[in-house]
Amino acid sequence: MSETKNPVEPESENLPRLVVLLHWLLAASVFFLFISSWWMLSLPLPSAEFTYRELPFQLHKNIGITVFIVVITMAAMRVRALLREASSPQGWLQRLAVVDHLLLYTLLTVCCLSGYMSSSYSGWSTTLWWLVDIPSMTAENDDLNILFSDVHLWSCWALLGLLLLHIGAAIYHGIGNDGAIDKMFRLR
């Protein structure tokens, strides 16, 4: 059997189990946030009579805050290794992979923070998982609400584009069978 060296040879050691679990939790949460937000923005605007948006928006904010915590945890565990990879000699695909990961962490953080700021300036309160009141940082301000809402919108579109690149890369590794996909499924 001939051994063919793959041009994209990812690091062979397993990832920490927590990182693997958080990665999939994050993926499920982000997909749900996208799909549910497209639907919930078609619901009637809130008023005393129309409260259709109450549950979906609270859920969106709860999951968003949880995603923020997960992203910070993952970044703390992974950024040093990614920067080490970036500084070592490697091909353009591996450099692209490092940039993709760093940009994903950055955009996820911007999406979560801009969403929180927009909510904070909108004057609506947030209770994390209906248990803990999250204080608004500021008083209601329509202009800043619209500004952060725009940042939230565009950073989320950019995130979606980057996610498609990430998924494409996962399929590339899956077909190439270079061990990168196996690492994301190993829990031992």
Partner: protein, 179 residues
């Protein structure tokens, strides 16, 4: 060489099961949320007029007509849903979430071990296909305004799960012949 191809097939299948599984999980969860939020007897059903304040319209970048149609949109859902539909969808979405989680677990098992997990992956794909067909049959029997929203995505999911099921069965047969 054959082993390498078989291993590549497993990695490829696992990533496809995971990708579509996560999308389906989001889709079923959103359907559950939809059915929870939009119920009979809610404000749109009682005929309240839309509350479209100018500041809210500017904030959401909506026209007055769009704001009013948002209430009509909810009325369409309510008037196109037969009495049995909401509880049926709540049950089907919950089953869909459970079956999807099961398929995600089988994707992990495919990578970590092999042959018995392939059978589990076949069972989970068959379950997902049955749930899609059950959803499609229900959608055929609801009002035309709501039916139009459901039929096409359901047909797409049926095709995706059919492809996955056939790929898993064929891969299982090849593995059995090779061993």
């Amino acid at each position: 060489m054959k082993n390498e191809i078989a291993k590549a097939n497993v990695s490829w299948l696992a990533i496809i099961i995971m990708l579509f599984g996560l999308l389906l999980l989001a889709s079923h969860s959103n359907e559950l949320l939809k059915q929870k939020v939009i119920g009979p007897g809610s404000s749109a059903d009682l005929g309240f007029a839309a509350d479209c304040r100018a500041d809210e319209l500017e904030e959401e970048q909506l026209s007055l007509e769009e704001c009013q149609l948002m209430v009509s949109n909810v009325r369409i859902i309510l008037s196109s849903s037969p009495q049995w539909y909401r509880s049926y969808q709540l049950t089907l979405s919950s089953l869909g979430i459970a079956a999807t989680l099961f398929s995600l677990v089988t994707a992990f098992s495919l990578i970590n071990r092999q042959s018995p997990e392939l059978r589990l992956a076949i069972v989970s794909s068959a379950l997902l296909l049955i749930i899609d067909v059950a959803g499609f049959v229900a959608a055929v029997n609801i009002g035309p305004l709501l039916r139009a929203q459901y039929l096409w995505p359901l047909l797409l999911w049926i095709c995706i799960h059919l492809c996955m099921l056939v790929a898993l069965i064929r891969f299982g047969q090849q593995s059995a012949m090779d061993s």
